[in-house]
């Protein structure tokens, strides 16, 4: 195995562990931090089912964002759902035999990359063109967009311009999954693509990308409007009461 292949094997094992452990720790922190008061943004659903539906609408349709700003919503939807299809399509590189529905997704997934790229470029353009968004942007906001644009463009390049040896790529990842590392084709576009993906995986749990798990823990969205019917008291607040009554 070449040095490059070995480096990528190491990089991907590290990135995967970092991503999974990082996310698990972060989600654990969110779950274990008490929410001492009911603070849903009203009107809020009065049942758990209602809350699940509200959350589903947020995650699937970006409901609140649609109300706030149609441009951000449009670019956000293009990017996220483009990426979702692209990711589903990529399952074919990690499964053998390939699940039937991944084959169905495949043609859509290929072209969804353009939607993803268009969404990203739209979001990025706003950071330059709209004074308010320019003001609130940090260097890391730009770098993250650059990273994702790089991933999308190198991926598109391999799909439509300079094809890579996907049989070997699949062998490489299946090998990693079975802990018997294989060689990786060394064409530059693939190496760039995979390098950027690994970088994204590493920054995920230590960056604003935490919005992905975070949205499910947002008390203004995931709480029921039942405060008059049910007492909602955190452990640390109970301690204040102890011995008083």
């Amino acid at each position: 195995m070449s040095l490059v292949s070995a480096l990528y094997v190491g990089l991907f094992y590290f990135a995967t562990v970092f991503l999974v452990v990082g996310l698990v720790l972060r989600i654990k922190t969110y779950a274990q931090t008490p929410a001492p008061l009911k603070i849903p943004t009203m009107p809020a659903p009065r049942t758990e089912t209602g809350v699940a539906l509200r959350m589903f609408r947020e995650v699937a349709f970006f409901e609140s964002l649609f109300r706030s700003n149609k441009w951000i919503w449009l670019f956000g939807i293009l990017f996220h759902f483009g990426m979702l299809l692209v990711l589903l399509r990529h399952l074919r590189y990690f499964t053998e035999p390939v699940w039937f529905w991944v084959n169905w997704v495949q043609p859509f997934g290929k072209y969804a990359a353009f939607a993803m790229l268009a969404g990203l470029l739209g979001l990025w353009a706003r950071r330059f063109l709209v004074a308010r968004i320019r003001y609130i942007s940090t260097p890391s906001d730009h770098l993250m967009l650059a990273l994702l644009v790089g991933i999308a463009m190198s991926g598109i390049g391999m799909s439509f311009l300079v094809h890579t040896d996907i049989i070997s790529v699949k062998a490489f990842f299946l090998g990693m999954l079975h802990f018997s590392p294989q060689s990786l084709p060394t064409d530059p576009l693939l190496l760039v693509h995979l390098g950027l993906v690994a970088t994204l995986m590493i920054i995920f749990p230590i960056s604003k990308l935490l919005h992905a798990p975070g949205v499910f823990f947002s008390p203004t969205r995931n709480q029921t409007d039942s405060s008059r019917e049910q007492r909602h008291i955190a452990d640390w607040a109970k301690e204040l009461e102890a011995g008083e009554r």
């Binding site: 603070i39 009107p43 203004t220 909602h232 955190a234």
Partner: protein, 514 residues
């Protein structure tokens, strides 16, 4: 009238370009040492304030999931940037919700995140310095915690939670705000925000009884500290004192009278508002809430009803059960606590109130959804009840009603500009500028539908509008209380108004019926 520029009301609300440090100079007076200590905070800025502040931030991060999640999840998408009334009114960049939050978030990143510790420039992280603390003091007191941004954020990030945390940290290092802390101290010592002692309350209520009798010929009681009454009414102290609030109080009294229920006010808990929420202090919010529990127990009441007050209703509806419950000693048949609008609404639905809408024909009304009712609390036990019920009560009281623009009512309502502990003269400039978006929507219905009056169910909204309406070419008496409209329209049994309507009055205008 003002030594600052009053924003111009245009045809439509325009989103301004952000400008830096336009309102940085606007900061409230700092709390006096004894007001700080009354609330359990240090008297003045402690020597090691940086360490204390960072420790406190860590403490809050462990106690509040909202803070923890909200500080992590913002992606700077910008959806909130044009949603804050203070940004729209001042154009100051730090009044964009995301930028306001960044003032705290950049310190959070520096001390609590990997990226901020090792790559501060990259992610926009900074040390906590005196300059940052001053920015906190200015801009977290230019937030009325109205939660409008939380409606529009894709992750539900609520600046109110962030500004409450910032204020609690500032109190903890000894840099508190005078207005809030003085008021909380006054409630502890005297019983209400305005510092009205029991004899003054009793005197006021007696005067109001006389006013109602003069006006209607009916003796309507406004009882104080009456043991064994069924209902304890908790209302903002402004209701005892200021216009138009006091007209609302007379409205509640007439409704109770007509319903035939026994009720009382309490001099021990003569304040509905809970300013503990404004400063983010769970301890103080709890202490204030417990006074209500104590008053209910001492008086032996079966029900608790809240008067018209927005923040009070949020604390009552959403937090009272948590802070001071369980209320197992009250009658469980009724919501605990209940809002006066819910009480009146139920009576109207049961056809138990006779209303003569023509009494309000000199007005054409619109309703200002108060933010802490609209976005912070429910009403009526059904989703959106807080929008429906006050409007139903208004419409039962008057013939002419129009809503303001859809983008500015219900949960998208614009704050009056004076909430969250900003209703103080030292912050008049920010109050006037923050009122602009609401005034713009009011102007629109004034021109399109001839609206003459704005009804509200929050003591802060009423006080704020009475003060700020004149800056925009309106008059201060254009703000009315919802139960003031009820008070005008309600036809009490055996009143002169009833006799007049039924044509049973004799030449002297006296009622014939007994």
């Amino acid at each position: 009238m003002a030594d600052f520029d009053v924003p111009e009301l245009k045809e439509y609300l325009e989103v301004p370009e952000p400008r830096e440090n336009v309102t940085n100079h606007l900061a409230p007076f700092t709390a006096k040492p004894d007001h700080q200590t009354d609330l359990g905070f240090p008297a003045e800025l402690v020597d090691n304030w940086k360490e204390v502040a960072i420790d406190k931030m860590g403490d809050l991060l462990g106690k509040y999931r909202s803070l923890r999640v909200f500080l992590d999840t913002c992606v700077h998408c910008g959806a909130c940037t044009d949603k804050c009334h203070y940004y729209l009114g001042t154009t100051d960049a730090n009044n964009m919700p995301v930028a306001r939050q960044e003032l705290l978030r950049k310190v959070y990143r520096r001390y609590f995140t990997f990226a901020g510790k090792y790559f501060p420039k990259l992610v926009g992280a900074t040390d906590l310095t005196e300059e940052v603390l001053d920015d906190w003091y200015s801009y977290f007191h230019q937030c009325s915690q109205c939660r409008r941004c939380s409606v529009f954020c894709p992750y539900g990030i609520d600046t109110a939670e962030i500004s409450m945390a910032a204020r609690e940290i500032m109190d903890e290092v000894g840099k508190g705000q005078k207005y809030c802390n003085e008021i909380i101290a006054k409630v502890y010592k005297i019983g209400n925000n305005l510092g009205l002692p029991q004899p003054a309350l009793a005197d006021t209520l007696e005067g109001l009884e006389e006013d109602i009798e003069d006006e209607t010929g009916v003796k309507v009681r406004l009882p104080l500290d009456e043991k064994g009454a069924d209902i304890l009414l908790i209302t903002p102290s402004a209701d005892f004192f200021a216009e138009p609030h006091v007209d609302g109080l007379m409205g509640y009294a007439k409704v109770f009278h007509e319903a035939g229920v026994s009720w009382t006010l309490s001099s021990e808990a003569s304040e509905a508002a809970n300013f503990g929420m404004f400063i983010g202090s769970y301890d103080n919010m709890r202490k204030l809430a417990l006074r209500i529990r104590k008053a209910a127990l001492d008086l032996g009441v079966k029900r608790i009803i809240f008067g018209e007050c927005g923040h009070a209703w949020r604390v009552a509806y959403s937090f009272l059960n948590t802070l001071a419950g369980p209320f197992d000693f009250l009658d469980q048949k009724y919501p605990i606590p209940q809002h006066i609008c819910e009480f009146t609404y139920d009576l109207l639905n049961e056809n138990k109130l006779r209303m003569n809408k023509a009494e309000n024909d000199h007005m054409t009304l619109t309703f200002h959804d108060s933010c802490n009712v609209a976005r912070g609390a429910g009403m009526g036990g059904f989703e959106g009840g807080q929008f429906v019920i006050p409007r139903a009560v208004i419409k039962a009281s008057c013939n002419n009603y129009y809503d303001m623009d859809d983008d500015t009512i219900h949960d998208a309502t614009f704050c009056c500009g004076g909430g969250g502990g900003l209703l103080t003269d030292d912050l008049m400039e920010i109050r006037v500028k923050g009122a602009m978006p609401r005034m713009q929507a009011l102007k629109q219905v004034t021109e399109e539908h001839g609206v003459t009056n704005l009804a509200a169910i929050c003591a802060i909204c009423k006080s704020q509008f009475a003060k700020t309406l004149p800056y925009f070419g309106f008059s201060m008496d254009q703000i009315v209380s919802v139960h003031q409209l009820v008070s005008n329209a309600i036809v009490l049994k055996g009143s002169e108004q009833e006799a007049e309507l039924d044509g049973t009055a004799d030449e002297n205008g006296e009622a014939e019926t007994a």
